[in-house]
Amino acid sequence: MRWLLIKDLQILRRSPLLVGVLIVYPIAIALMIGFALSSPPGKPKVALLNEVAPGQGTINFGSQQINVAGYASQLFQSIDPIKVHSREEAVAKVKDGEALAALIIPSDITEQIQSLVTTGVGSPTVELILNTKDPIERQFVDEAISARLSQVEQAVSRQVLRVAVTDLQQVLSGGTIQFLGQNFHLLGLRNARTIVQGTIASLPPGSPLRVALSQVSSFASLAIEGLGFASPVLGSIGTPLTVVQTQLAGQTTPTDSYAAAIAVIVSLMIVTVLLAAGMLALERSENAYSRLVRGLVSPGRLLSEKIALSAGCAAIVSLLMAAFVSLFVHLDWSRFELWVLALAFGGLAFGALGVAIGGISREVSTSSLLAFLLSLPIAFVALVPADAVSGAVKSVLDAVAFVFPFKAALEAANNAFSGTAPGIGWPLAHLAVLTVVFAALARLALRRFA
């Protein structure tokens, strides 16, 4: 087997273009996939027309003020605003494609909110103009702005409620409020009741005022009790649901290292499958297969050599790639021996898949095409999120992913890279079984290979 390995390495050394493409192409694909998965989409450019005059973005609510304009800045967390000065300019920006959408905040927005808050009448409205040419971009912008507007709505609601609760507390307990630049003292219901009860006590027993003041005192007690309940109820409306997050140590994987694992395994898969399929088919294309298997090399040893060659070459390329990626993404170098194991087992399984393809296709260009056509769907099947398809479809996809090495190799590499997940024993065992199965398929295919 040693001489066959040397021979194949000599052939590869004399095919620099092929080797270059085999290395550069999958790495480029893998890095692009990894970059796409690890980087969130950028902020959409949105033309923003704010018609609210400077200094007019304040709502007066009772004794307090809410600065609505301050909440507009929250929108900028989700969008890249292009400030415009008229509706026509905003529409033109969208039509030209300079902006994906336009958001128009009318000049009466604060009055509308003020009216809604104080009288319950009013419909504060902002206008969103979307470019309908690209449905995906339209959805992206719509979702980004809608989500942020919803947050602004909630924030304003919370602030209004907070003001309401504060005022209610002052009605109950009294305090000082500012109005038109002057301080005013509020007595409060509790103080009023105390005063009334003191007055009742100081009256003669037969005084006719006692009955009337007792009614006032009872009313004050009832109001204090009722409003005492109202404060926490109003406070709870602002945040009806509280989400408590629990991070289970050892069970989560950083997105970046998962993306790195995907990039490395895509690269490992493409290099190994293409190399194994091509090098096996080459034996037939060069007519050497029949010469080899007439006692010089058994078909099993020939397959082993191709699997070992492709797995070895691809594992080295993938390890170098992982080392390079680790400059930008945290990968746990203390588990380096697990990296090697994961990539070696993954390489062997992909190599076995490759020789099965090479054995079936029997011709170099066909096997290369078939290997390439099969590789990417195998990866994508394993990467479909569970909530992206229905349960039945997901079950089918899981079954397909289970019989190909990508998912197990990804799990092994991810566990090895991140260091936060459990051991890699099960994925390695899975890969070992797949290696045996695909090697057996390749051996069957070789029966009609000569």
Binding site: W3, L4, K7, Q10, I11, R14, S15, E286, N287, A288, S290, R291, L292, V293, R294, G295, L296, V297, A450
Partner: protein, 242 residues
């Protein structure tokens, strides 16, 4: 050049007894039997699909027979397939060295040097096989078949892709081999080559061995005095319903 067999050496080199090969329901070879003598140059002729390549593939150990026996192990037989079985990205010497090592020869380098000399390819030793002419590729192909110094050399249509000059040089080389005692068995469509070079002819049709004898005997069988050898051969097949 006269072969060793034609000069009187008569030791049996290889025996084939009731060799049968079936592919599913089709019988490619049907109870074929013959013996080859040391140094004999034997031509196998027959129409397409007659079973020539199947017969040589079984003798070479590439295919397993369905029934029957071959007296010599495939490892003791040199095999030269119809298409050059060479790695085009390797040089002539590297191809020879690889197969010498796979053959587990005791001194691979000596074998490579000898073969380069025998095939007159010493000055092309470091050239990539893919850059060689068809004739030179066929010489390397034959050289690999001869690496283990086999007693029997099998050639499947060795001259099929060669021009007349290359063909002439090939037959000179093969004749010299037979002269040194190597039994050479070749298949061909070229009836004239059999008449000219073969000591003995095997006529194989539909997997059945119809005739074995010298070219002269085949000529006499069909009354060669009235036609050339190729016409006689076609007449021979026609008379037997093929």
């Amino acid at each position: 050049m006269p072969s060793a067999a034609s000069t009187g050496e008569q030791a049996t080199s290889l025996g084939v007894h009731s060799l049968t090969k079936r592919f599913g329901t089709r019988t490619a070879l049907n109870a074929v039997s013959f013996e080859l003598l040391a140094g004999e140059l034997v031509g196998i002729i027959g129409p397409n699909g007659a079973g020539k390549t199947t017969l040589l593939s079984i003798l070479a150990g590439v295919l397993e027979p369905s029934a029957g026996e071959v007296t010599r192990s495939p490892r003791e037989v040199g095999w030269v397939p119809q298409q050059p079985a060479l790695y085009s990205k390797l040089s002539v010497a590297e191809n020879l060295r690889l197969f010498a090592r796979l053959e587990q020869l005791s001194d691979p380098e000596r074998a490579v040097t000898e073969m380069l000399a025998q095939t007159d390819l010493r000055d092309r030793a470091d050239e990539e096989v893919g850059r060689l002419s068809g004739g030179n590729q066929q010489r390397v192909n034959i050289a690999i078949g001869l690496l283990c110094e086999p007693g029997v050399l099998l050639l499947d249509e060795p001259s099929a892709s060669l021009d007349p000059r290359q063909r002439e040089r090939l037959w000179e080389f093969i004749g010299a081999l037979a002269g040194r005692g190597t039994t050479v068995v070749f298949s061909t469509h070229n009836v004239a080559e059999v008449e000219r070079y073969a000591d003995r002819v095997l006529v194989l049709v539909d997997g059945v061995l119809l005739f074995t004898g010298t070219p002269a005997e085949l000529g006499r069988t069909v009354g060669r005095d009235r036609r050339d050898f190729e016409a006689a051969f076609v007449h021979f097949l026609h008379e037997r319903g093929h």
